[in-house]
């Protein structure tokens, strides 16, 4: 996969993502945090919480929680690529699940834009177990930028 070089020049990227995770209800509920940014790759941490587990005893993170975290991680990758806060919308998201996460363990999601055309941004993402190279799922998404509506985080730039 060839990653296009994005325009990641804004000085407050971490601040923007911090706001993205603390002000959005779903992100707070999932406990999402930015692990780090490596070039155009956004690494997002999804901790294990029993309320998002697939069973009461010995539960693993359920696929619905992973899907939400992947959608958000892809959104981060899009903003990283655009280099500014923007109103974006998910057009299509496909997620393939290869392996169930180990019970009680969180995931790290790596997302990055691999191509863009006009307003459409193509993103790839993968979820790995924390401190491991075991891939649990892979995703590809299409996002549209500059959709109508207010822009979250515009006031901090």
């Amino acid at each position: 996969m060839v990653f296009e070089q994005g325009k990641t020049g804004i000085g407050s990227t971490e601040k923007l993502f911090d706001m993205f995770f603390t002000h959005v209800g779903t992100h707070r509920d999932l406990g999402l945090t930015l692990q780090n940014i490596e070039g155009d790759i956004a690494k997002i941490h999804l901790p294990f919480q029993s309320k998002h587990a697939d069973s009461i005893e010995n539960g693993s993170l359920h696929t619905t929680a992973i899907a939400t975290a992947i959608d958000s991680a892809c959104g981060c990758a899009v903003m990283l690529h655009l280099g500014k806060p923007a109103a974006i919308a998910t057009v299509n998201l496909r997620i393939d699940y290869m392996r169930k996460p180990e019970p009680g363990r969180g995931l790290v999601i790596e997302a990055s834009c691999y191509q863009y055309a006009e307003d459409f941004i193509y993103v790839g993402a993968a979820a790995y177990q924390v401190n491991s190279k075991i891939m649990c799922c892979n995703a590809v998404g299409i996002f549209k930028s500059d959709t109508p509506g207010p822009v979250l985080g515009m006031e901090i730039t």
């Binding site: 002000h23 959005v24 209800g25 779903t26 707070r28 509920d29 029993s50 309320k51 998002h52 587990a53 697939d54 069973s55 009461i56 539960g59 359920h62 696929t63 619905t64 929680a65 899907a67 939400t68 975290a69 992947i70 959608d71 958000s72 919308a89 998910t90 057009v91 299509n92 998201l93 496909r94 997620i95 393939d96 699940y97 169930k100 509506g149 207010p150 822009v151 979250l152």
Partner: protein, 133 residues
Amino acid sequence: MINQKLIDFLEETPYARNYGTEIITSIPETECVTRWQNVFTGNPLLRAWHGGVVSGVLELTGTLAVINSAKTKECALLSINTSYLRPALGDKSLFSRATVVRSGKRVHTVSAVVWQNSPDEPTAIASLTFAGK
């Protein structure tokens, strides 16, 4: 009439309880309603549903449809492909319906749709593939 297995599944599964999804009917197709909660917010300025939660509702409805039709209690999601057609507005419930396209020995293929105002105006659609156990 609602299949008791589906009610049990919703009560016993932590993530499903977290969604608060209720079954409207399970015959002939599985239809559910998920009521708005602030923790479903994807964009606080628009007060809209998070795309991942919409995808989660589609998946949960699809899972219930497989359990309903395939006489299995467990199924694992292999793949989900979601297309987002309209914004999902906050403060409004999401209605969902899932149809089992084919239920084989090991693989179950499901299509699912969510809407807010009318089924003729879908908010999102998904194609799901499950592995049955």
